[in-house]
């Protein structure tokens, strides 16, 4: 769907040159909700803006739907942009035009005949649940409503791809959730491929199926969201995941523990099997839960538990072996005496 091949973007200022994106290659499939995560300045925004040629890569190629964007110019590029919707952190609606006119603007860009515009605008407003705000100016809308208008505008010409540039970063948590739900339903119902950039891992966890983590212009790790949450390899990935799935046991609690503290990670179906219960029956150790939860990512359970095992050292090792045999990952956080 979207093929990014060895894309580099260099910015030249008077004093120095800055490489915003370094040799990035990614493939985004049809129907993906692809999250690009990174701190500000990581180059994620530059990369996203290269997809619809708001910025031209210095080298490398990008193709969308089989069309090589990097080769397009002028009218051909404009035509291709009609098929790629985009929404922004600060919405960027035309302040001096009503909601209706803002959406009609996008339809006119595609050359829609004027008799078809009203019904199509109504339809789009129904999709984003804003039918009652048709003749209102953006200044009278809340942030979430503005973003819904932004989404309606982006969807006007039935795009195959939707680019989201920090689309929820200016919104409060509740509004963020409602926008994310809307994006997810558009992805499911219209088969819309979504590429979003964000610094909030929560957004990725909520709606993405695949993700890439960027640092200093490079993609340091990418893959399925579930896999990366279950087994992050890069330290930055781990850091981001800790922001949303954190199981740090307070120091005071740790100080009181005398046993071996282990972290047990269940993936997929094995989360429900009650392995720990079985283990406690089979092996002569005592288990004490310190922390834990089952997170659902893309609807699949990912369980993480912090457990204190007390008993004979040999028995403790046997307990860990028992768990590992059931294809569950175990990490020792600290050994007991």
């Amino acid at each position: 769907m979207i093929d990014i091949k060895q894309v580099t973007k260099v910015y030249h200022t008077k004093k120095k040159t800055v490489t915003g994106v370094k040799n990035v290659s990614l493939t985004i499939h049809k129907g993906d909700v692809f999250g690009i995560v990174g701190y500000s300045g990581a180059g994620k925004s530059s990369l996203l803006r290269c997809i619809n040629m708001l910025e031209r890569p210095s080298s490398g190629t990008i193709s969308v739907d089989g069309m090589e964007m990097t080769k397009l110019k002028g009218e051909a590029l404009r035509q291709q942009r009609l098929k790629i919707g985009m929404i922004f952190q600060h919405f960027y609606l035309i302040n001096q035009k009503t909601v209706y006119e803002n959406i009609a603007f996008a339809l006119r860009a595609a050359g829609a005949s004027s008799d078809k515009i009203p019904s199509r605008v109504e339809e789009l407003l129904r999709v984003v649940e804003l039918s009652d705000k048709r003749d209102v100016y953006p200044a009278q809308l809340s942030g979430g409503q503005k973003q819904r208008v932004g989404i309606a505008r982006a969807l006007s010409n039935n795009p195959t791809v939707l680019l989201c540039d920090e689309a929820t970063s200016a919104l409060d948590p509740t509004t963020t959730q409602s926008i994310l739900r809307l994006l997810k339903s558009l992805n499911k119902e219209l088969g819309l491929t979504i590429v979003l950039i964000t610094h909030e891992m929560g957004v990725v966890k909520e709606i993405c199926n695949r993700m890439a983590i960027m640092q200093d212009g490079e993609v340091v790790e990418h893959g399925n969201v579930y896999d990366l949450f279950a087994e992050p390899k890069n330290t930055l990935t781990k850091e981001f995941i800790t922001n949303v799935v954190s199981f740090d046991v307070p120091e005071e609690t740790l100080a009181k523990c005398t046993g071996t503290i282990i972290k047990v990670m269940f993936q997929g179906s094995s989360a429900g099997e009650g392995i720990i219960g079985d283990m406690l029956q089979e092996v002569d150790v005592r288990g004490n839960f310190l922390h834990g939860a089952i997170e659902y990512i893309e609807g699949k359970p990912l369980g993480i538990f912090i457990l204190e095992l007390t008993g004979d050292p040999e028995q403790v090792n046997q307990a860990m072996d028992y768990i590992q045999k059931r294809h569950v990952r175990v990490e020792v956080i600290s050994h007991g005496y």
């Binding site: 404009r78 985009m86 302040n95 001096q96 595609a110």
Partner: protein
Amino acid sequence: MDIEQLIDLLPEMTEAFLETMQMIGISTAVAILIGLPLGVILFVTDRGLFWQNLVVQQILSFIVNVVRSIPYIILLVLLFPITGLLVGTTTGPIAASVSLSVAAIPFFARIVETALRDIDKGMIEAAIATGATPWMIMKDVLFPEARSAIIQGLTLTIISLIAYSAMAGVVGGGGIGDLAIRYGHYRYDTTIMISTVVLLIVLVQLIQQIGDVVAKRLDRR
């Protein structure tokens, strides 16, 4: 103050007022007709915009700066030959309108350019990402968004033109300034002097207020 003297001069005052309005009217119309597109071109040909053409941008910008750096009274004299060619005379309100227009074009163009620069770049990019044509972006994004600021700039231009037109009066341009010079200055007629000043104050106030109201009405933010 001599009321009778004022009444005697009323026809001449009226004529002078109409001449001033004529000068302002013509030069404002020319400023809009040429200055507005010029301002738009100055903006859209600049770096990073959709009709980027730095050669055109810099040449136009230079010309605008040159004209703007010439004091109006000198511009007026400098343009006498051209005015003569165009109008056939160098005195009277029509002749004064030539130099007023030349002064007003770059003035208004810069105001338009500044108003456009105040638009959030992101909004223009959003329109580009939508797939809008440059023409649509100018008509439906740039112009509506800058409209209010342009109206305020137009008010400023008209008021400056009133001041300039009074200067044109010194060299026989006609209008209120001319009247003030002939009666007020050369004949030490305080009544006329004060009346013309009052008239100018009222005129400027009126235009400023109309401009403010219109600009506010047009702004939906």
